[in-house]
């Protein structure tokens, strides 16, 4: 189950910085292509046994868990039904389940990790350090667990056809009127990556994009050494609905831009998608970093290729609200004196001929105030939504359940 060093027979691990397989025992390094082809043919899995069989359970208590034996130390390796590489908890050596990436199941391409574990952790720490509202405890938090996982993706070519009706406001002289617009058309999508794992939410994995597809390599299991990986476990129905959702977002975005209106809102939609059956299977890298804060697990995702950090961090509410209220009071006092002396002038003008102009000024002021509040609140809601995604239990379990 492991790729061994030609010089000392110790297990090799892929190093993102040198992009080579490195032996921690004798220091030798090899490219994936250099590892002898013939040795790969003889690497076979020891027969895996279901945990239900081992523990004599008939009710499927240990459903989808399999026991393998570590090639290095003979220790027990427990993995679930979709994992394809892991690390032995006893000797720390990488193990790849070759039968899960064999023949038809073998990915076409792999994007090797470019970001090392240390770099990923330091990137996260740097980000946290810069945050004004990141609580002090989080800035100095102990990171529980760091896992480098190759996520399975299907690269999809698809045809999308859509028709939408949207409403939007158009300025007509002094007034704003709401109109309805219809747009219909097609999109041809090329190599859209769709997350092929049921265990991580599509919302989280889509935020890891973009991956630099130009740096994809032909799949070689040696790239998996030292990292965890999963194989595809989604159905055609899952694939179609994920692709449809993404294509619909692109189409609606273009339709909105095409209409040139304010406050656009999609009111009717008729989307349809046709997937090309010729799919490309690729493994793309991501770091999962978890920490515990106030009893909740938070999982930060990092694109293992570009280093894009994806997370929402709980904020220091006392600092945030005290600053907000403080600045609010200060600006209110300043604005009060400004309005106290300007409003009588505006109202006096209202009684004279230029009344419509002063009315307009007040209307603009009211609209401006509403816009400030809604934009501010919308941003806070966005942060809260992102925090919830970081606290997602499924993502945490996806990472935590791996041994190592």
């Amino acid at each position: 189950m492991a790729t061994l060093c030609k010089n000392c027979s110790h297990a090799l691990v892929f190093d993102p910085e040198t992009q080579k397989l490195v032996c921690s025992s004798c220091g030798s390094s090899f490219t994936a292509e250099e590892v002898e082809a013939e040795s790969k043919q003889y690497r076979q899995d020891l027969r895996a046994e279901s945990m239900d069989t081992i523990y004599g359970e008939t009710d499927g208590k240990y459903m989808d868990c399999y026991v393998y034996t570590c090639a290095e130390c003979g220790g027990e390796i427990i993995i679930n039904g979709s994992e394809s590489s892991t690390t032995c908890i006893y000797c720390g050596n990488p193990n790849v389940v070759f039968s899960r990436i064999a023949r038809q199941k073998c990915p076409d391409y792999i994007l090797p990790f470019s970001i090392s574990k240390d770099k990923a952790v330091s990137m996260v720490r740097e980000r946290l350090k810069k945050g004004i509202f990141v609580p002090h405890k989080i800035k100095k938090v102990n990171i529980d667990c760091v896992r480098g996982i190759y996520l399975p993706y299907w690269l999809v070519n698809a045809e999308f056809s859509g028709a939408v009706v949207l409403s939007g406001q158009v300025q007509e002289g002094k007034h704003t009127r709401t109109y309805y617009f219809g747009r219909a058309g097609d999109i041809n999508i090329k190599n859209l990556p769709i997350d092929a794992s049921k265990m991580v939410s599509d919302e989280s994995t889509a935020r890891l994009e973009p991956f630099s597809m130009t740096r994809l390599k032909h799949f070689d299991e040696d790239y998996l050494a030292g990292f965890y990986s999963n194989v595809t476990d989604i159905t055609y129905s899952d694939l179609r609905s994920s692709a449809l959702k993404r294509a619909e977002e692109y189409f609606e975005d273009e339709a909105i831009h095409d209409c040139h209106v304010d406050n656009p809102k999609i009111i009717r939609a008729y989307p349809s998608i046709k997937l090309n059956n010729d799919l490309i299977y690729a493994m793309l890298p991501a770091w999962f970093i978890s920490f515990k804060y106030k009893g909740k697990h938070h999982t930060i995702l990092i694109n293992g290729d570009t280093g894009k950090v994806v997370c929402g961090i709980p904020w220091n509410k006392i600092l945030f609200y005290s600053l907000l209220i403080g600045l609010g009071i200060l600006t209110t006092v300043a604005a009060f004196f400004l309005f106290k002396y300007t409003l009588p002038l505006v109202m006096a003008a209202g009684r004279s001929r230029s009344g419509s102009k002063s009315g307009k000024l007040i209307a603009y002021l009211v609209v401006g105030i509403i816009a400030l509040f809604t934009t501010g609140i919308r941003k806070v809601v966005k942060v809260v939504k992102n925090i919830k995604l970081t606290q997602d239990r499924d993502t945490f379990n996806f990472m935590k359940k791996r041994q190592g």
Partner: protein, 155 residues
Amino acid sequence: MGIYIIDLIALLFAIGVGFGLSCWIFGTLLEKSNSFGDNKGDKRYYKAYAKFSARKDGINNTECNNFCYSYGKNISKDSDGPADSEPVRKLTDEELAFYNHTSVEEAAKKHEERIKDLEESFNLWESRNAKGSLSGVFSKLDEEELNSMNRKKYR
């Protein structure tokens, strides 16, 4: 009395402007401080540009109801492939030929073209990287992508 009403109105506006401005400033700061990577893959990476076949502006209520049915096409019914409940897998050339109603040779040729199409970008990247002309991780934008971005910029 009149003075008091003006003061009251001034106070209401001042509270609105003061707390509205504060809400906007701190909402923006919070977003920058505590939320990272809140965007998905842009359409230009997947060449997902819409080609509109029908545009109708200022339509009325009845047309609103009919527009989607008149112009929407259900193309998913034309697609042939493995059953929805089946796990996604790589199809063999024979299966691709069967589902796409072509010959095995044709299916194999199309598959090769699909791979070649993807790999051409690898080669382009490698050659530009070797020449040291790579400005970033991603390949240079083509004319269409640039136009699309500029449209967005000046809108």
